[in-house]
Each structure stands twice: as C-alpha cells, then as structure tokens.
C-alpha cells in the first residue's frame, strides 16, 4: 500500500513519515481504528499500552509540529490527527470499541433488547424516582452502586462474547445494549447529584 511522497516524489513507504525525506504523509483511506493505533484488532486490550501508542503518535503528527510547515504537510498532519484522535476515542471506550468491532465483523449492534432487561431498567428507574422524590440521598447512592455492579457484569459478558468469536455476535450486541442502559441510568443519577449538591460534596467524592 505504498504511496508516492508529495514532497520528494519518491516512494514514501507505508508509514506516517516518508521513508525517503521524512515528510508527513496523508492518511490512507479505509484503515481501521486498531490499525491506526498500531494495536491488535480485539476487544481485550491493555489500554495503558494503547494509550502509550496513541500519545507517541500524537507527539509526532500533532498539528503543532507543523504550524510552520508547507500547507500540504499541515493538511496531512490535520487529517492524521483527526484520524488518530477518533481511533483512540473509539478504542478507549469499551462500548464504542465493542460496537466498532462488531461492525468490522459485519455484524450490527442493533438487536432487539431482551424483555428482562427492559423490566429491570424500568424497576430501577421507578426506585430512583421514588428515592429522589423523597430526597433519600443514601438510597440514590445505593441504587447507583447497584447499577455500577450490573454494568460491570454486562461488560464482562461483552468480553466473554468476544472471546467466543463471531458466533456470539448477538449475545455481545445484547450485552452492549445493557451496558448502554446502565450507563444512561448512571448519567441521570449524576445529573441529579449535580443539581442538588453543594460545594462541600465535591471533594467528598
């Protein structure tokens, strides 16, 4: 997938910088986020390693490096940086990473949600509304804790599904949907807390 360098007009190689003259090269189209980051295409990743890869690349291709450069180099740097940031944003978040991996497999994250999950979430919401109406902050906090536990379990199911491969695609999609529901619940709790907490609570948690 070698390209001709825009600067020295010789073979640029496949990397970020031209093998001949070192000029930054525009990104290739159709490269997946894992490849952009230079990590394996899998769900189960050591994010600390991925983050280090991300930052090493950001250091080299960030537009700040090219503020004074030729317009073509600045353009390539901007495109590369947008691509890299999007890759990291997707891969670092387990739900986005899972959905993206599924889509690379040709699957979809859009599946019918299990009726059991809907019932569970509705009950949790009712309990939350009651606790909030009663200004029972202890109960709200306990519910938030419960949901964090459920979220962690669902994420475990996502990871387990990916380890089984394509056959588990529907299970993965359902587990991802569950994670999204739990996360939305947690967001609502956070909004409630934000609206009702004073200064003193900030450093408490």
């Amino acid at each position: 997938m070698s390209m001709i360098c825009w600067s020295c007009e010789k073979n640029a190689g496949e990397g970020l910088l031209c093998v001949g003259c070192g000029a930054i090269q525009p990104p290739f189209a159709g490269v997946d986020h894992f490849a952009v980051l230079g990590v394996e295409r899998r769900f189960d990743l050591d994010l600390a390693v991925v983050e280090a890869r991300y930052k090493d690349q950001a250091r080299i291709l960030h537009p700040d490096r090219y503020a004074r450069a030729d317009a073509r180099a600045r353009r390539a740097s901007l495109q590369r940086a947008v691509q890299l940031n999007e890759a990291w944003r997707t891969v670092k978040d387990p739900v986005k990473r899972g959905e993206y991996l599924l889509s690379l497999w040709g699957g979809t994250a859009q599946v019918a949600v299990a009726p059991g999950l809907l019932m569970e979430v509705m009950e949790l919401r009712e309990a939350l509304a009651e606790a909030q109406a009663a200004a029972d902050h202890g109960r709200v906090a306990a519910l938030a804790m419960d949901v964090r536990g459920l979220e962690a379990r669902a994420l475990g199911a996502v990871a387990a599904g990916f380890s089984r491969g394509l056959a588990a695609a529907d299970d993965i999609a359902r587990a991802l949907a569950a994670v999204r529901y739990y996360q939305r619940f947690a967001e609502e709790v956070a909004v409630h807390e934000e609206a009702h907490a004073g200064a003193a609570v900030v450093h408490g948690g």
Binding site: K55, R59, D64, L78, A190, E194, V202
Partner: protein, 661 residues
C-alpha cells in the same frame, strides 16, 4: 469530496513555509482586565515589559479621543476613563463574539453607549470619540493587541513572526473567531489560539517538572475556566474543561459598586450617570484589591453634583456581597471532574490562575472545594502569558522541545438543528481536537429541494437554548420523495478549536463547505474593511498627532515670547518689534487652522523674527548668571527646560507606540 474541502489550508502563509526565525514568536494573554505579552528568551519564558522596563501588564482599557487619538493601557484606565467614561472601553473581552442581547447582563451597570442594533446579525458597537465613531469589540481588542505587538517588537528588535493568543477554555466558536479576527486586524500572524488553563498548565508543567493530574482554577476579570489535565512525559492532555465565559472579578466589582451606590442613597444602576458609574466601579475595584491585605478600608466617592461620600467597607461585608457569584463556580468544577472521571481526592494539585484568585476568599473557596491547598508559585497574572510564550516557541520551531505536545478539547458540544428545534450533537464536549464527525440526514418533506443547516453549540437539548453559530443552505437538489435524499454533513474542529462544516447531498453530489462564521462574528469582508479602515485611520491619526504636537509647540513658543516681552521689553529692538508682531499673528492664524505644516512654517517664521531678541536674552541671562548665581544655576535652568521638552517628546513617543501603523 466535501470532506476534503474541510482540510483545505489556505494561506496567509506559503510565507509560513519560510525558515523560522528564532525568538520572535510571542505569547499574548488578551485578558479582560489586563493583557500581557511574553517570549522565550534563553530557554526561559519571560514577560516583556517594553523599553521602559515598566509593568508586565497592560490594562485592557482603550480610550478613543474626540480628535482621533487612541490611547491604550494605564493612562487610559487611570486618567482618561474617569473623565471620558463613554469613550474609554474596559473589559471589552466580555463583548467579544457576543450579540447585543447576550451582553445585556454586562450592560446593566455600564458607562458605555451602544449604537442601536442595525442589520441582522447585529453586532455590539460602542459609540466613542465624542460620538464621532462606532467601534466593535474586535476593533477595540485589536488596539490592545497593537500595543502588545509594538512592545514585543521593541523588546525583541524586529517584526514578530507569529503569535499565540490565549482564550478562555470555555470560549465558544464565536468568541474564538472574534479573537482571531482581532489578531488579524492588529496585523498579527496568529499561529494558534491556546486555552488559558492549558497555557497555565504548560508553564507549571515545564517549570516545576510536574507530573500527574491537575485542576486549573482560572478566575479572571470576566471569565471563569476550570480544566482537568493529565501531565505525563511531556504530554499535556486536557481531560475535561468547564466554566462560564461571563463570570469573573468584574462581577465582583459590579456587586460591590451596587452596594456602594445603595449606601450613597442612589439607585444601584447609577441612574444613567456614566461618570458616576465609572467612579463607583473604580472605587469598587480599588476596595476589592485593598481588602486583599486590609481587614477594612475607607471608601471615598465623589458624589454627582459635587461633594464626596465617605464610607467603610470590611472584608466580611465584601465577601458576603460576592459569595453568590463565586458559588456559581461550583457546578462547572463538579461537572469537569465528573467528565474527566476523577475525584478531587485523586488530583495531584490545583493550580490558581487569574487576578481574582489573589482574593483570600477565593483561595479559601478553592481549598474547600477541592479539599487541598492550591498552588500559586507562579504569578497568577503572568502564568498564562508565560505558557503562551512556550507554546509560541514550540510552534515556531525554535524550542527543540519535540517531547512536548498539547492535547486540548472542544469545550462545548457542536451540533445541528433538527426538525422540531432539537439539537443533534455531532461532536461532544471534551472531545480531543483536532476532531471530525460525519452524519447523514434526510429530507423531511416530499419534493424538498434544499436543506437549511443551522449549526449550534451548547449542551442543551433545544436549539433555542444553544448558541447559534451559523446558518447555511444547500440548494439545487432535484425533487424527491421525503426521506430519499442523503445529506452527509461533516464537522471538522481544528487545533484552534475552530469549526468548519461541509455538507454533501450523496445522490446528486451537490456540495457546499463553509468555514463557520459565528452569527455575531465578522465576515471576511468586514474584517477586510476594518483593516482598510485602520490603515486609512493610521494616516489620519499620524496627521492628527502632528497637528496636536505643532499646536502644543505653538502655544509654548507664544507663551514664552509673551513672558519674555513682559520680562525684558527693552531687549526687543524697535526694528524687530513689528516683524515679531507680524510673525505672531501668522502663527496664531495657522494654529487655529488644521494644517500642521503651516503651523510648523509659522513657528519657524517666528523663530527667525525673534532670533536677535532671544540671543540678547540669553546673553543677559548668562551675564546675570555668571555675576550673581554662578554657572551651575544657569545650567540647571537650561537642564530644566531640556527636561520639560524631553518629557513632552517621551509622551509623544509612547502615544506613537499606541497608535495605528
């Protein structure tokens, strides 16, 4: 492909491809209250103080005199603002990128006169120069930038080859565009807009070799920012940012001023008396600053219509007044911590930035809020400019700091208006820049041949609650059934945090791309016009300055001559008397006119006519001196007049530095 168009980089700079000249890239902190310029010298960032080695800060106050002079800085703030309240603009940053309606809160207690809104979208325009001129906030800011530019060029010995201007992290796209426009208007090559808390973190991080997760609490004159940053191995990564771009020390001043007015038995909006408002605001600011040290102080304000009001203010009273405003900082801090996914207890440190953080109340508030003592090792007034200088040095390529990189974020979500007035977010707040997003939309009605795109920024669900950034149209789509057209919209946010948008109808390939110009911003044409205006003004200003100078010189000579004729009439030969009288008449006539060259010629004429008289006077003075007082006294007298002249010249020079071109 439309997306490609977004990446088009048009120049002011094949010129940029030129060899970077080291050391003439500077960082500018364009503050609400004070502005600074700094540069990296011998590897260290330092604030530039100008040839007079004065204060590092230039008060962000711009005076427009009726005769066309523009005066920026301390003179404008201390001498001119009290006398010409309406013609002297302070805190202009609060109006940047804002429409007349937005600025309403700030306008409640204000000495300015605003031009009636004209056209759509309408801009804030101040009526200045004795009612003869309208200026926009961008133009006022450009005046401040020109002074900083002149200062930097004087100190660094040559033209600048690029600047980094800082903006509050929480500035929206419109406010950022306005700041960039002001830079262009001042003739600066703006390499980057840098968020103020990020700049501060850069200064701290590199100076203190800090690593870890930090919160930057930045309370300036008019804006509040909080950023959570992770510093590791030269990477300055903003995790989250929050704030309020209309909250700052100015609001404290207004609350204190309202209290003082009440205590004076006057309406708390000053009852429309601009001079009173200016005096009370100044008294409030002085009181606030004095109460940083003293537990209580006396306040003296000149009453309208004569007499003075004397009162007392103690720290507890002041703190009770400003507390409600300070409490508005709590929510952005909580949200930023939550967005960053860190608890206050996990932070490595809290960095204080901004003049308002000198107040004991604010420090105490921050300690309570974060549960730890904040850091303030670097002067909170200077730290942002120092960080900007480091960034400018890096961008100009003179630093050799290949290890440092800043990863900043979008402060507020960016989206499009959907049917029903709902905002659909394409880029969420706290996304690392540069970044992009593409989304596909479809038509709502049968045979719809165009799309109206409305770009908005903000966290709220309804467009009405978000800030409107731009509207544009994509037309010429062949009529199709509803839902058939495929409109692909792409947002791109560059490293300055500025948005570009493109749209493409996929079935026809029809496309359009725009650089988002905020609804309250300036079009390119307007910026061009202002640039031309300022060049035109520059010439006018030079003429005006010469005229003023020649008039002053004429006054001085006429007065000296009159005094000499009273002092020693016998030394003026009868033969010369008529010639001198004629030359005086010529000079008086010329002085009343507007031609500075004519005045100059008349001065020279009078000089020639009175030469003999002057020589005789000098001889006698030397005689008297040698006999009676000794040479020293004569020299002293000569010195005195030389000094007086020198001062006049000095004033002119500093004025010259503050004017166009």
């Amino acid at each position: 492909m439309a997306v490609e168009a977004l990446f088009d980089i048009s120049e002011p700079g094949q010129a940029r491809a030129k060899e970077a000249c080291k050391g003439r890239a500077v960082g500018i902190d364009l503050g609400t209250t004070n502005s600074l310029v700094a540069a990296v010298q011998a590897g260290q960032p330092v604030c530039l103080r100008g040839p007079e080695a004065g204060a590092s800060v230039v008060p962000s106050v711009v005076h427009y005199a009726a005769d066309g002079h523009v005066v920026v800085g301390q003179t404008a703030r201390d001498d001119l603002a009290p006398r010409f309240a309406q013609d002297t603009i302070a805190s202009v940053k609060r109006f940047m990128g804002r429409g007349p309606q937005d600025a309403e809160a700030t306008r409640r207690l204000t000495p300015y006169q605003f031009a009636p809104a004209a056209g759509e979208p309408s801009l804030v325009r101040f009526v200045v120069a004795g009612g003869s001129r309208l200026v926009t906030p961008v133009e006022v800011s450009a005046e401040i930038l020109r002074v900083l530019k002149a200062r930097a060029e004087a100190d660094l010995g040559g033209e600048l080859d690029g600047v980094v201007i800082t903006v509050p992290a929480y500035f929206d796209d419109g406010q950022r565009q306005a700041t960039r426009d002001a830079g262009r208007l001042a003739g600066l090559d703006v390499l980057r807009l840098l968020n103020e808390p990020t700049a501060a973190a850069l200064a701290y991080g590199l100076d203190k070799q800090a690593e870890g997760t930090f919160a930057v609490f930045d309370l300036g004159g008019g804006t509040f920012d909080v950023s959570i940053l992770k510093l590791a191995r030269g990477v300055f990564e903003v995790k989250a940012t929050g704030g309020d771009s209309a909250l700052g020390g100015d609001d404290f001043d207004r609350l204190i001023a309202g209290h003082l007015l009440q205590a004076m038995g006057l309406p708390d909006d000053g009852g429309g008396d601009r001079f009173l408002v200016r005096r009370v605001l100044d008294a409030a600011r002085a009181a606030k600053e004095a109460l940083t040290e003293a537990p209580d102080i006396a306040v003296v304000v000149e009453r309208p219509g004569g007499g003075t009001w004397r009162g007392q203010l103690d720290r507890a009273q002041m703190e009770a007044l400003v507390r409600p405003v300070l409490d508005r900082c709590v929510r952005p801090v909580r949200r930023a911590l939550a967005d960053a996914g860190v608890a206050a207890a996990d932070l490595t440190g809290v960095i204080l930035v901004g003049g308002a953080t000198r107040m004991p109340l604010v420090r105490e508030f921050v300690s309570t809020l974060f549960g730890r003592e904040p850091l303030h090792d670097i002067d909170p007034d200077e730290v942002v400019a120092l960080g900007a200088a480091i960034q400018a040095d890096i961008l100009a390529g003179g630093s050799g700091r290949d290890d440092v990189v800043l990863l900043d974020v979008v402060p507020l979500s960016l989206g499009l208006e959907m049917m029903g007035g709902v905002a659909e977010k394409l880029i969420h707040r706290n996304t690392t820049v540069p970044c992009g997003a593409t989304q596909t939309f479809t038509t709502y009605a049968d045979r719809q041949t165009g799309f109206d795109l409305h770009v908005v920024q903000g966290e709220r669900e309804l467009v009405a609650d978000c800030r409107s950034l731009a509207r544009f149209k994509l037309t010429g789509i062949p009529p199709m059934a509803a839902g058939m057209a495929r409109l692909e919209v792409t947002f791109l946010v560059d490293a300055d945090g500025l948005l570009r948008v493109s749209a493409r109808e996929q079935t026809t390939g029809k496309e359009t791309a725009i650089e988002v110009k905020p609804s309250y911003g300036l079009t390119d044409d307007e910026v061009e016009r202002m640039l031309l205006d300022s060049f035109a003004h520059a010439e006018d200003d030079v003429k005006l300055r010469s005229l003023t100078e020649q008039r002053v010189e004429a006054e001085r000579i006429l007065a000296a001559l009159r005094a000499a004729m009273v002092d020693a009439p016998e030394l003026l030969a009868d033969a010369d008397r008529q010639a001198v009288a004629a030359a005086v008449r010529v000079l008086e006539t010329a002085r009343a006119g507007t031609d500075h060259l004519a005045i100059r010629a008349a001065i020279e004429g009078l000089d020639a006519a009175s030469k003999d008289f002057a020589t005789k006077r000098l001889d006698r003075a030397l005689d008297v001196g040698l006999r009676g007082q000794g040479v020293r006294a004569v020299e002293a007298r000569v010195d005195e007049s030389a000094t007086a002249k020198g001062t006049t010249a000095g004033v002119k020079r500093s004025h010259a530095g503050h004017e166009h071109g």
